[in-house]
Structure formats: structure tokens, C-alpha cells
Symmetry: D2
Subunit: 164 residues, 4 copies
Amino acid sequence: MPIRVLVTGGTFDKQYNELAGTLTFGETHVEQVLERGRCRLDVAVQVLMMMDSLEMQEEHRARIVAAARTCAERQVVITHGTDTMVETARALAASVQDKTIVLTGAMVPFAFGSSDGLFNLGSALSFVQVLPAGVYVAMNGRWFAWDDVRKNRELGVFESIRGA
Amino acid sequence: MPIRVLVTGGTFDKQYNELAGTLTFGETHVEQVLERGRCRLDVAVQVLMMMDSLEMQEEHRARIVAAARTCAERQVVITHGTDTMVETARALAASVQDKTIVLTGAMVPFAFGSSDGLFNLGSALSFVQVLPAGVYVAMNGRWFAWDDVRKNRELGVFESIRGA
Amino acid sequence: MPIRVLVTGGTFDKQYNELAGTLTFGETHVEQVLERGRCRLDVAVQVLMMMDSLEMQEEHRARIVAAARTCAERQVVITHGTDTMVETARALAASVQDKTIVLTGAMVPFAFGSSDGLFNLGSALSFVQVLPAGVYVAMNGRWFAWDDVRKNRELGVFESIRGA
Amino acid sequence: MPIRVLVTGGTFDKQYNELAGTLTFGETHVEQVLERGRCRLDVAVQVLMMMDSLEMQEEHRARIVAAARTCAERQVVITHGTDTMVETARALAASVQDKTIVLTGAMVPFAFGSSDGLFNLGSALSFVQVLPAGVYVAMNGRWFAWDDVRKNRELGVFESIRGA
């Protein structure tokens, strides 16, 4: 059964614009990541938007929810900026019940050498195959239920709200 | 609950010896991979051996099996050369019943830029947390039961024996 | 005879701050670059400042000029932001006559995989050993006299003012 | 005036064959290196052979000498394995008088992350533009006349025979 990968941008897909000297979005790197990982899963990559998750409005979340709900696949991975990943997870949980949805992202752009993006996508694609229906965040090698996760901005890591 | 990572070498950990111009083993790169992935799992890394899996003898497999059986953790990831990974999986399945054991490796050394090692370790560490007790191989983003997997040497990928 | 390397920052030394999601300065990467290049030159690295060259004021240029003039070495390489590299070259030419000074930089931070920094520093360190006394810019594998060079901002390359 | 780059292989161009698990030659990486360095020199790249310099026979050196002698350019860079680079330099010096020829190579393949190849090619392309006619080796940021250089195999660096 194929897996749907919805791309929304985030640090994962940022790249360096050498003319402007700034971080910007271009094409997604998800296919490159899958190739690097010699991934042999049946994956359908769909780019919904390329944006910083701090700039996401309600309408953007509505589009993500709609795409996750209406796609044929029952396993969905979403690449997303880390800053509001939990907020989008909540919106998904309110609207999609019968699918396994895993959100992931990166602290460092894949385009830079030291990115966690390859690790995280390997992790998210694995969790989505085995976790029961529900909405999850996969970061730092861990998985979190959508209602038990927050980003610790001081440390740059995700953690359980209830501890552990 | 912590995860035990048993290191046995394999392509994953090979590196370039610039004086000899050959591929050799030095220290394991597993800690570096975990750091790159910003991994926050409670992981105990144990180096059992650093060798090419084509050179493994029965005694080496016995040591791997013993380490997996006697460690306190119930979730065990083993980094291993891809050539005889399936053989070691079989040996583990014959001797360890009550743990989730996931073998993984890499087609390209982590020390080289284009390695799948980061993806694969992210994948293996995820599967080991969610799959029921049993022995598995995690490669190419997929998981395989120990008795339904083979390495396709022409393509350099792992596949199910029974298809799909 | 040793070579003085004066570090002033610029894109060359920018790095990604994963907590803030921004490009910032930390320690210089020049030593790392020299190590990567297996450089065996007698090099004295001195960090003068770590700044974007667009933010350089007259006082900063005065400090660079003073350091280049007063150091014992007769061969000086300066890492510098590309945007005002030519301006600093002009200031140096007005004040230092008897040394070979080569300014270089990068279009992409060394910390990112795809940087030209390693190539450029290899180039600058080579030119400084063989060019006669004078002030030069070394970028794109080429060398330019300080009064015959400009940055082409559309292309992100340096070119001769008089052509060719 | 254009620069001729003659490619002969060596560690510089080795790559990892992930099916065989060995180091082999494929296409040259020289164009990639030039692109990475944002090189804007007028360079004509010509692949003569792709081989380990330990396996070079007299006929191979004869082909290198012929190519360097007969090409229209007066500035020639040769990428070469480090083990017999000095031997080829000697053969060139015996037959080509009126050109500047710079041999360079790498201790680590460019295809691997930690290569010195980018630094070395930046260095060689710079020296070739400024050094007078003659045959030179450019390694470790330094240049050596063909008759005053040897590879120190214990350290993996090039050094002057007469010291310094």
C-alpha cells in the first residue's frame, strides 16, 4: 500500500540563495532524501506549499487537512516546519480519524551538510507503516501522540507534555 | 525504556584510510549518526566487533546472539554488513524470542557524503520501538521479517522472498 | 616564510543557528578549511572581526588595514564578505605598498556542503605565494588587481572592469 | 588564455561502488569541482585515462607527455594519483620546456565529504596562472619544482627534498 508524502516546506526544505545571501525555498528536497536513503517504499510525493510554518494561516492548515483527508492512501507523512507542527497536528486530529498521519521536519536544512532531515524522514516513514491510525509527530528518533507533544524552543527538541 | 544498539561494523562504519588508499574500520560512527539525527532516545551503544559481514564466522554470530539475548533492553538495533545480515537475523531468531531486534546497515559508508546510513538508522530505531517481539531487517525504508527477506545483489536492495 | 590569514567573517564563515533558524557567526572555519585541504603552509590565523561586509564601517576597514600593515609577514590572505571586498581592497592599496595581499571569500558558507570556500582559500593561499607585492582579489579561480575588479551582483561572480 | 586540464584519475576521481563495496573509477569529477568552486576560468577538460597511478606504465606517461606537449594551451593542470605524481612530473620536464604544467591530486576522493580535492584544484589552477614555464607539483597548499619534491608516504604529504 503506498504512502502519501505531503510537503509543506519548513526548515527541512530551506536552501541558501547565494545571490541574496538568504535562506529561501526552491524545489523540495524530499525526492533527493528518498534517493539518498535508497528508499524502496511506494511513495507519492505531493507539494502542497513551501513555507515557513510560522507564517501558516488557517487557510494553509485547511489545505493540509483536506489533502490528508481526501488522498487515497491510509498512511500519510507530512514534512512541516517545526515551529507550528504541533498546531497542524491538532487540526489534523480534529478532522481525520481513520489514517495514520506522521508529521516530521528538520532543525537544519537538508541542503546543508549537517541536517537531521535524512534521519527524520527515515524515522517518519517507518513509524507511519506500523503505528495505528492517529496523528503523530516524529522527531529526535521518537514518536509522540498529537496531544502529548510540544517543541522545547530552548533546546530545539520535541518532548512529551506529560513527561518521559 | 532504553534501546540497545549493537555495533558489528559493515559498510555503515567503513572509512577511507588516506595513507593506504583503502577502506578500513576505525571507531564506530554510530554516536555521530545519533548526534546528526538529534536523537533523544535513551540509547546504549555497544561495539561488539568491527568487521565486514562476509568475514563473519559462526563464533562472531554466536557473540552477537549472546549480546542480544543477555542485554537488559527488550529493544535491540544491530548495525551489520548487508551481505550476511539475513544469516545473522536467522541465528538471532533461533535463539531470542521475547525481544524486538532490528538489523540495519548501509550501502555506502556513513563517512562518505552520500550514505544511506543516517536514513537507515532513523528507520531501524523507529521500527524497533513499535514492532512486536521478533527479528527484523530494516533497509530501504522497509521492514522485513527475518524469514521473508533476501538481499538482491544486482540491485543492492533488500526484498521480500514471497513478493511485494 | 609564514603567511598571515586575517579573518573578517563574511559568507565564508556564516553558519546556521538551528535554534533561531537564522544565519549567524560563531567561530571561524578557517582552521577547518586548512585541515580539510591538508594544508602544510606555515600559516598564522588571526580573527579580526566576524561580520557581514555590508555592515563594515570605516573603523572596521581601518582595523583591517592596520593589521595587514603591521604584521610581520609579507604575504597576507584576508577572508572577507564579497559585497564590499573591493572597497576594502582599495583601502589596503592606499596604505600598504610592500606586501602581497589577497582577499577572498565565498558565495556559500563553508559550513554548508556546497561551499566554494575550500576552493577559494586554496586559490588565495596559492596566489599570495607567487604574485608580486600588491593588493588582489581571488575569486572564481581568478585573480584581479584591486583597481580592476567588481562584483557582478546579478551573476554572483567577480569580473574585470576593463573586460576579459 | 585558456587552461588545459588533463585528467588521469588517481584518488581524486575514485568513487565508491556500492554494489561491489569497492573503490572504482567512473566519470571524472573535475567538472563538478569547477562548478563547486564557481570557477570562471576558461578551462578545457580532457580525460586521458582513469587509473591508479601505481598502475601507470611507460606508455601511459608517454600519452600524458604527448597531450601536454601538443595541446594549444600554455598552461596545463594535470590531475594525477599521488603515488607516482613525481615520476610523471619528471617525464614531463624531460619533454616539455615552454609551458607551465602543474600536477595535483587528492588524498581523499572528491566524492567523499572530507576531500582535499577542491582545495588542491583551486590551488593548482591558481599556481598555473602565475608560475613561469616549468613543471610543478601543487599539493598541501604548496608548490614544488619537479626536481625538488617527494611524497612522504608515512605522513601522506608532499615535501621538498632539499628541506624547508
